[in-house]
């Protein structure tokens, strides 16, 4: 859950953002303690809203990306922990290995994307909104197409 503290980083530049981040963190923690999945989800969403608010303020891009990675990892870990406890009723060293692997993978994907996004944004001299939107829109279409076509042949050799 320490990764969730990263969500406070962008709030340093935008104190208004600290409110939803704090509320979201409290809700996520209470959801984790009580075993309420919905509270965890809403808590993480609240923390993310704080990041969006910070972005609309004066927060720097690295802080926003750091906060987003922290929020995603915090949500993923809390969510997985609750589901495991509900299904297994106890946590063993083997279970902890599963949790660490999940958190590490999610954090890795999010961090790598964040770093690449920052580098690309930094190297772009001019960032016309429309161009970026079109790029993102294109990415979205590709993702949806992947899902709907069920391209199992392209991604052969995955775990089951």
């Amino acid at each position: 859950m320490t990764s969730g503290i990263l969500a406070f980083v962008p709030a340093i530049a935008s104190p208004v953002a600290a409110i939803p981040v704090t509320a979201g963190m409290i809700l996520l923690l209470s959801g984790l303690i009580q075993g309420h999945l919905r509270a965890v989800r809403f808590g993480a969403a609240g923390m993310y809203v704080g990041i969006v608010v910070a972005a609309l303020g004066d927060a720097l891009l690295p802080a926003l990306l750091l906060g987003t990675v922290g929020t995603v990892v915090a949500w993923d870990s809390a969510d997985t922990t609750i589901v495991l406890e509900k299904q297994l009723k106890s946590v063993s060293p083997d279970t902890q290995r599963v949790l660490l692997l999940r958190a590490g993978t999610t954090g890795g994907v999010a961090s790598l994307t964040g770093v690449m996004g920052y580098l690309i944004a930094g190297f772009t001299l001019v960032r016309p909104t429309a161009v970026v939107v079109v790029l993102l829109g294109g990415t979205l279409v590709v993702v949806v197409a992947l899902v709907r076509s069920g391209v199992s042949g392209l991604l052969d050799g995955r775990n089951g």
């Binding site: 969006v52 609309l56 926003l64 406890e85 083997d94 964040g114 939107v133 990415t139 069920g150 775990n159």
Partner: protein
């Protein structure tokens, strides 16, 4: 760029439209997802047959603010206060209305005619119990204190009895889904251990969890906010969400391996003694050439066998050809039990794809046919059949237990003359001993649904304890050359007339450990009082007495016994205690059960309160406090 509308550039329009589309997409997906539950419910092998903790239904209704909860507590209060105060019902009800029956204000508030509060307080909205729950608990606690003050020692006067107090936190009492998480009593499964949508043994089922759905929705909202507010940094942030969505798509698009795991099981012993701990070791092996990042296994524990140590569940990662081993402990019960095939669930690295497997079982069976413990302290009601047996009656004669002294009569055996009295006082007297007589007893085991309850997930259920007691009593009485019969409540077709001898003893043993009423419970047939009494009276020998084995969790068993007594059938009750404390409902169930025991004793019906984990001999020996003589 040419202007399409005055004051707006084309790029602005494109951007605004894209933002609106993204916003709407996110909103629609959120609506679709709002009411789905993607968490797979695993089987509850610790107790695979529907089972309740007494009072769990009351707790559920209390949280729903059902008005009948107040009526039930009020009825228990009237019954208790009428017993203790000696007043009639109307006077007791007036005391309750005026609030003079206790000094506890919360208890008074709950039972007052103003009724329960019809709204939930802030505490309730924040996840705590409504105020009415606290008031109900206070009312029941106040009644329990009154009952304790009247009856003395709460454990029935037996210092050796061990009662399980608040030691069963992990028993489910209603509710499900997210409310069944930590800190909440969990629900005992009524699904016979089956996972919804689970495959048959030897096959598998794939499904998608959709756990990254929310990330996709938030990403779309982020894009919408970014384009509307023209904040490019948010678009960069949104790429993280897009990447994770692609990551989830990667998981969904993966292909599964057929039969990737094999689950093996080894028992410490396959023929244990009843009550013996049996360690079960489960081994999960990865037969595929892929790394399995998330494997969850739940073993198919036989119904009615209690897991007392460890857990039949396990989770971990498995390298190719790697193994995962874990163990848990069961308590053996009478009968033969076959393990069900385990449930294995495999997840990919993203957690998006879920594969539910039922590896074919290896037909593991545990059989328990133990010799029973003897009950040397067993004694039935003082009634004989006119035959000589080994139960001492209230008549004097030849025997081994001292009964009385009388004047010497010509012909009395020299060995029975009281020589010490002769030497001391000069009087010639004869010692009389209690005369042994044979009894006819019919043991009735209550196997109704209301009797199928348990104080905790790791405790034995009440019906199993009743069957155990029937086996012990039958063996002991038959060893003493008495005549014993067995039946169930409801009787159905199960009736063994009182008999004697080794063959009869073996027959009763076979029936108690193999026949459906005593192994496949609870009975689902409706149990109508008049019908059951009629059936029973038709078959019961005229000179027989009855021992009812029932947890007394409802008034049916109480009324059944009272009616038998009024028809002249001497009845004794042995009642395993299935109650516990910790909530208003559980406390109330305990209070009501004690009220029933008091009513039986006030009607001069011997009643033995048998605490959990207490030997039957101890319960029967507890005559002064918990017994009914």
């Amino acid at each position: 760029m040419p202007r399409l509308v005055a004051g707006l550039t084309t790029s602005t329009i494109v951007v605004a439209v894209l933002g609106l589309v993204a916003f709407l997409l996110g909103f629609v997906r959120l609506q679709r997802r709002a009411h789905t539950n993607r968490v797979l419910e695993m089987p509850q092998p610790e107790r695979t047959t529907a089972l309740t903790v007494p009072g769990s239904g009351f707790d559920r209704k209390l949280r729903e603010l059902a008005p009948e909860t107040r009526d039930r507590v009020k009825s228990a209060a009237v019954a208790l206060l009428s017993q203790n105060v000696g007043s009639d019902d109307s006077a007791v009800r007036q005391r309750i209305e005026r609030g003079t029956w206790t000094e506890d204000e919360e208890a008074v508030a709950f039972l007052s005619s103003k009724g329960q509060r019809r709204f939930r307080g802030v505490r309730s909205w924040l996840g705590g119990d409504p105020t009415v729950v606290h008031e109900a608990r206070a009312a029941v606690s106040a009644l329990s204190r009154i009952q304790e003050a009247k009856s003395g020692n709460r454990d029935g006067g037996d210092p050796t009895s061990v009662r399980s107090r608040s030691g069963a936190p992990n028993v489910e009492s209603g509710g499900g889904g997210e409310d069944a998480g930590r800190g909440q009593p969990a629900r005992l499964a009524a699904d016979n251990g089956k996972v919804p949508g689970a495959p048959q043994p030897g096959s598998s089922v794939d499904r998608m969890t959709g756990r990254w759905y929310g990330v996709g929705v938030l990403t779309l909202f982020t894009i919408a906010v970014a384009v509307i507010s023209r904040e490019p940094d948010l678009l960069v942030v949104a790429t993280i969400g897009l990447a994770l969505s692609a990551y989830a798509a990667y998981g969904r698009a993966g292909s599964a391996v057929s039969k990737p795991v094999v689950v093996g099981r080894q028992l410490e012993t396959e023929r244990p003694v009843r009550g013996e701990s049996v360690e079960v070791t489960v081994t999960v092996r990865n037969k595929s050439d892929r790394f399995l990042p998330n494997v969850r296994v739940v073993d198919g524990v036989p119904a009615q066998l209690v897991v007392t140590e460890g857990s039949p569940r396990c989770s971990g990662t498995l390298r190719p050809d790697g193994t995962l081993e874990y163990s848990y402990t069961l308590i053996a019960e009478y009968g033969g039990y076959e393990f069900d095939s385990p449930v294995a669930v495999l997840y990919d690295i993203t957690g998006e794809r879920e594969r539910i497997l039922r590896p074919a079982g290896d037909d593991t069976v545990v059989v328990c046919r133990p010799p029973p413990e003897k009950s040397d302290d067993l004694s039935g009601r003082s009634r004989t059949t006119g035959y000589i047996g080994q139960i001492t009656s209230d008549e004097g004669g030849s025997g081994i237990e001292f009964h009385a002294i009388r004047n010497y009569r010509s012909g009395d055996p020299l060995a029975r003359i009281d020589w010490k009295r002769l030497a001391r006082t000069g009087e010639l007297t004869t010692i009389q001993f209690r005369q042994d007589r044979m009894v006819k007893v019919v043991l009735i085991v209550d196997v109704r649904t209301e009797a199928y309850c348990v104080p905790g997930a790791t405790e034995r259920d009440a019906i199993s304890r009743c069957v155990e007691a029937a086996d012990i009593l039958a063996h002991t009485l038959l060893t003493m050359d008495n005549r014993v019969g067995v039946t169930a409540l409801p009787m159905d077709s199960c009736w063994v007339a009182p008999g004697s001898g080794n063959d009869h003893r073996q027959r009763i043993r076979e029936i108690l450990t193999r026949d459906p009423p005593f192994t496949d419970f609870p009975a689902t047939d409706q149990c109508i009082m008049s019908v059951e009494l009629s059936r029973f009276r038709q078959r019961l020998p005229a000179d027989a007495q009855v021992v009812l084995l029932s947890p007394l969790t409802d008034d049916y068993a109480l009324e059944f016994v009272q009616r038998l007594e009024t028809t002249g059938v001497p009845t004794t009750v042995i009642s395993p205690d299935p109650t516990t404390d910790g909530t208003a409902g559980r406390d109330l169930a305990e209070l009501e059960r004690r009220n029933r025991l008091v009513q039986l004793r006030q009607g001069h019906i011997p009643s033995y309160d048998w605490a959990p984990r207490e030997a039957l001999t101890v319960a029967l020996a507890n005559v002064s406090g918990g017994g009914g003589r």
